[in-house]
Amino acid sequence: MTEIKTKGISRRTVLKGAAATVGAAVGSGAITGFPTYWAQASKDITITHIGSIYTTNPTVAEQANKDLGFTIQMQTLDNTTLINRLLTQPETVDVADFGNTSMGYFKNKGILMAIPVKEYKYWDQTVPLFTQGTYADGKPYSMEGYAPIKSQFWADETAQEYSLTPTDYLVGIPVMYNADTLGVRPDLVSHKVTSWKELVSSDFAGKVALQDGVNVGVPDAAVALQAAGLMTYVDKGNMTREEIDKTIDLLIELKRAGQFRSFWTNFDQSVQLMASGEVVLQSMFAPAVTEVRTRGIECQYLPLEEGSRGWYIFQSAMAHLDGGDKLRRDCVMEYMNWTNSGFNGVYFSRQGFYSSVPDLMKAQMDPNDYGYWYEGKAATADIIDPFGKVMEKAGALRDGGSLWDRMGNVGIWNTLMDEDRYLVRRWQDFISA
């Protein structure tokens, strides 16, 4: 424990040095660009930020409070509860974060504030995934599913409809993103897995699992069915009713034949399925793969022919701030700018998530950490997560390589289909089968 603590301190010193060179206000406590009376006045403001387990935690909250001078109160909620709260009591929230599977719920609701681009400091440093709808090299990415560009801009300041082309109003500031793929137990599979089609292959009957749900499980299954040549789709991220029917019928057939071992609901379940050997191949989230590995069990995250399934998390402010107390709104914007300014991004980057402003991270992360997490370089020393656990030994390489090797081949994004109502109805039939 103590050893890790000293490590943390020395790392912070490194950070501080780096921060000083780039002139970022990490841990300095200075509020930039505001007169002193503002700092005095904002002292009593409390901002309520609700978010997921990945985006809200005591360490980050503590640092935010130290840096900003007003109070950030974070609450961690599961996605269903969070969206429900935003839909029913948006006035009890100032800032919220959510992923692409929720973006379909905010249109024409008047819940979220249109964030003027000019009020967000780091837009010009944000990866083009969000700003242009392309990869870093300018190539456009797959538009199947809820691609980032589909819900990044409001058409106008009324914040009712999304715009595919850039406007002056952001739906949210991009916080983190990643690409998911299949996790595999290399010691238990009979042959090398290179395609999603193995999910529906009889070689793995009874030993595969999917996420339980229509936003992640269904697109994963669709990619697998298409790869196996069992289905063709116009857009598997937004299926027609006929496509939904065919997909569910095929899945029911597979289920009755005993293809699936389980459908997992949460992170822990997916880790357990893999660690216990109940499942040898399944759709997984990156941190779950890491978690299996930290238990000393081999687990790989595979780059596959059909590409990965991408996702992102936005942070957004609530509409009631615009008509309310100006000071509170200023504080919220200040906090949202803080979110991507350094500490928070470094914190989640060291758990394997990607920051929307990687260059800013590079300036503030330990070169070994940045090299391992972002650049596909072999670790020069042990890789330690923010909780002090050794994740990888020196010499280790990250699965799938550098940021753009991993993120540069998205086949589909997490979905929320137009036919969601019909899909959920048919998904019920599937579970019942």
Binding site: L87, S276, R421, V424, Q428
Partner: protein
């Protein structure tokens, strides 16, 4: 100043009446209202819409869901009744000391000594392919390869129901049995009744209320459960409560509300029937 008895009784009843109205009646009324509405993306569209009920009454899904849950109820009820009765019988009529009775009853509650999530997780190392049961079966040469259906199947769901709910059946039955006067049992023995005759002709008729109360616990618990069935079947078994949860997770409140209304009616019918068969109130008044 004196209050008329009539006013007094109104006053006495009013706190509970208020709670019932505020916390049961009004929410229930809202659920019923919502069940007749249309819905879009995470929004309720306040127009009269029969589709939620039409789907329930016309679809194979409803039939499948209720067949599944009734099958669960019948199996779990039978097993917990047998277990509950035999354990209670042993505790009340064969264990002489109150001390040991209390100890044994405590032992029945062991499954509840830990948190629900830990209880859920601990089934995997026991029932999984690599689990203890499979390892034992393989070591004994009973099977050649691990049995898959021990976990993430209907079997594992039922097993956990029995594990969790036996106490709910045992308690009321033991309670009823404890109220039977030893003199009655003694009288039966004096008349030359065998133990079996005593059980069938004296004890069972006298503990009917206990069985009814236990049955209500079992039926409402299995009917209302979405968590155990999802976790232990690996989301591969769907029940009415599970279906409601799926819809709530997709923010589709009107169909979830309609399914809840139907489920409430069915549960009330079952419980009402049971209460007609057995007069629980009289039972509770008995010492």
């Amino acid at each position: 100043m004196s209050i008329s008895p009539r006013t007094a009784s109104w006053l006495q009843a009013s706190p509970f009446a208020l709670i019932m109205v505020a916390l049961v009646m009004i929410p229930l009324a809202i659920i019923i209202l919502v069940s007749f509405m249309d819905y879009g993306f995470a929004e309720i569209i306040p127009e009269l819409y029969w589709g939620n009920y039409l789907d329930i009454f016309k679809s194979q899904l409803t039939l499948d869901l209720y067949l599944t849950v009734f099958r669960h109820i019948v199996i779990v009820w039978t097993i917990t009744l047998l277990l509950g009765f035999t354990i209670a019988y042993y505790l009340i009529f064969h264990v002489r000391s109150n001390f040991w009775r209390a100890i044994f009853l405590m032992a029945c509650a062991i499954p509840f000594w830990t948190s629900g999530s830990i209880r859920m997780i601990s089934w995997v190392p026991l029932l999984g392919r690599e689990g203890l049961v499979n390892q034992a079966l393989m070591a004994l040469g009973i099977v050649d390869e691990p049995i898959s259906w021990l976990l993430y199947s209907e079997f594992s769901v039922l097993l956990v129901y029995v594990n969790m709910l036996t106490l709910a059946m045992l308690g009321p039955i033991a309670n009823s049995m404890a109220k039977i006067s030893p003199a009655i049992i003694q009288a039966a023995r004096d008349q030359g009744a065998t133990e079996w005759q005593t059980i069938t002709q004296i004890i069972i008729p006298l503990i009917k209320p206990g069985i009814a109360v236990g049955s209500i616990f079992i039926i409402t618990a299995v009917m209302g459960d979405g968590f155990i069935v999802k976790a232990l079947s690996g989301n591969q078994v769907n029940t009415p409560a599970g279906a409601i949860m799926n819809e709530i997770n997709a923010f589709m409140y009107p169909p979830a509300a309609a399914k809840s209304v139907i489920m409430l009616i069915i549960v009330m019918l079952i419980v009402g029937t049971l209460l007609r068969v057995v007069d629980i109130r009289k039972e509770l008044a008995r010492n």
